[in-house]
Every structure is written in C-alpha cells, then in structure tokens.
C-alpha cells in the first residue's frame, strides 16, 4: 500500500508528542508499505524553519527527517493536474481547499496513495481513497 505522509505527521514524528503516530509509523514500515513524503511538505517545513531564521537545530531536524525510510515524491505535472482537478471539484461543491491542502491531497491522488493526516477534513476531498489518521489507535 502507498501512503503519503502529510506535514502534520512529519511534525508529530519530529516532536514525538504523540507516541501513537510513532507506533503506527513503525507498523507501516514493518508491513512494507511504500511510505512517501511530498516535496510540498518539504516546502511547508522549510517555510517553518525560514520564518524562525533557520536555527541550526531545526535545519538539522529537517536534514535528518529527509533521511527517513520513505521516498521523497516530487510534485510533478501529473500531481499538478490532480491537485487542480481536486480543487475544482471542491469548489463545485461550494467548498474551498487551502492551497497546500489541495496540493498535498492532489499529490496523494496522483500517486494512488492514501493520505496519512491528522486533518480529518481532508477525508471529504479524498473520499474515493479515504485518509488515515495515525493519531487514532
């Protein structure tokens, strides 16, 4: 199974605030799932670091994060089309996705991956494949 880890999952793994996320992450690794992180997530994390002046500890944290047991998935032409379609579908139902939500959810759809996220609202956008919340046991 392909799993795209949303930014909030990466932050949970870094902060270790929720052991349930770590437990489910290790279970997914053991099960041999294809874990991926979007370059859009890297953008979001880079933004967080840049806003605080690229503190050494935070830069090191991101450097270590990208060495993790997952593939960094490049947001490509296919992903941009899927994200655009997704954003348009949501607008057609009278709902508007935040830009990064649309990009990451669209990337998951393009990859044929389930999105692992703590943002339950994205389940509406990805109802055909659903989302997984590792904070929930």
């Amino acid at each position: 199974m392909k799993l795209l880890l949303d930014t909030n999952v990466c932050i949970d793994l870094l902060r270790a605030v929720d052991s349930q996320v770590s437990i489910q992450f290790l279970a997914a690794v053991r099960a041999g799932h294809d874990l991926m992180v979007s370059t859009i997530t890297l953008f979001e994390l880079e933004t967080g670091i840049a806003r605080r002046g690229r503190i050494d500890g935070e830069v090191a944290g991101l450097d270590e994060l990208i060495r993790g047991p997952f593939q960094i998935a490049t947001f490509d032409r296919h992903a941009s089309k899927a994200a655009g379609d997704l954003a348009a579908e949501m607008l057609a139902t009278g709902r508007q996705l935040a830009a990064c939500d649309a990009l990451i959810a669209g990337h998951a759809r393009a990859l044929g991956a389930q999105l692992v996220t703590a943002d339950a609202k994205l389940a509406l956008a990805l109802k055909e494949v659903g989302v997984v919340d590792w904070r929930v046991p």
Binding site: T7, L13, G57, A60, E64, Q96, D119
Partner: protein, 80 residues
C-alpha cells in the same frame, strides 16, 4: 507473492539449502519457508532501522505555527 519471489539474496539461498537438507521437506516447501523467514527478517530489519531513525529525529522541533494558517480555513463553504 511477487514480493516473496524477489527475495533472491544469498542468505535466502543458504536458508533454502539448509531447510531442504535438514528437514527433508520438498524443495518447494523449503523455498516457501525460506522466503517467508527472510521476509520476516527483512521486515524486522526495516523496523529496527526505522526505530533508530525515529530516535535520531525525535526532539527536533520545527516551528509549525504556520500550519495554523493552513488548518484554519480548510474546507469552509464558499460564500455566494
């Protein structure tokens, strides 16, 4: 099954030979048992490596206050 058949490393071959010679099982059974055993070993290795990585990244704090901007208006109905 496709994944199991991709396990063609030396350790698997040795395990097949060992199982076939010691237990007297058929070669097919020995291959199946060896592959299952190796898959389990590799899964444990992946998990151990992931746990080591997790221990290294834990405690690295990346400011995520900007995420609030993303989460605040995620799926609000569009105003007419």
């Amino acid at each position: 099954m496709g994944k199991a058949l991709s396990i063609k490393d030396e350790a698997t071959y040795e395990l097949v030979a060992d199982l076939a010679s010691k237990t007297g099982v058929s070669m097919t059974q020995a291959v199946n048992d060896a592959v299952a055993h190796r898959l389990d070993e590799l899964a444990k290795l992946r998990e151990t490596e992931a746990a080591d990585w997790l221990a290294r990244v834990k405690g690295h704090n990346i400011a995520a206050d900007f995420m609030a901007d993303r989460w605040q208006p995620p799926l609000e109905p569009r105003k007419p």
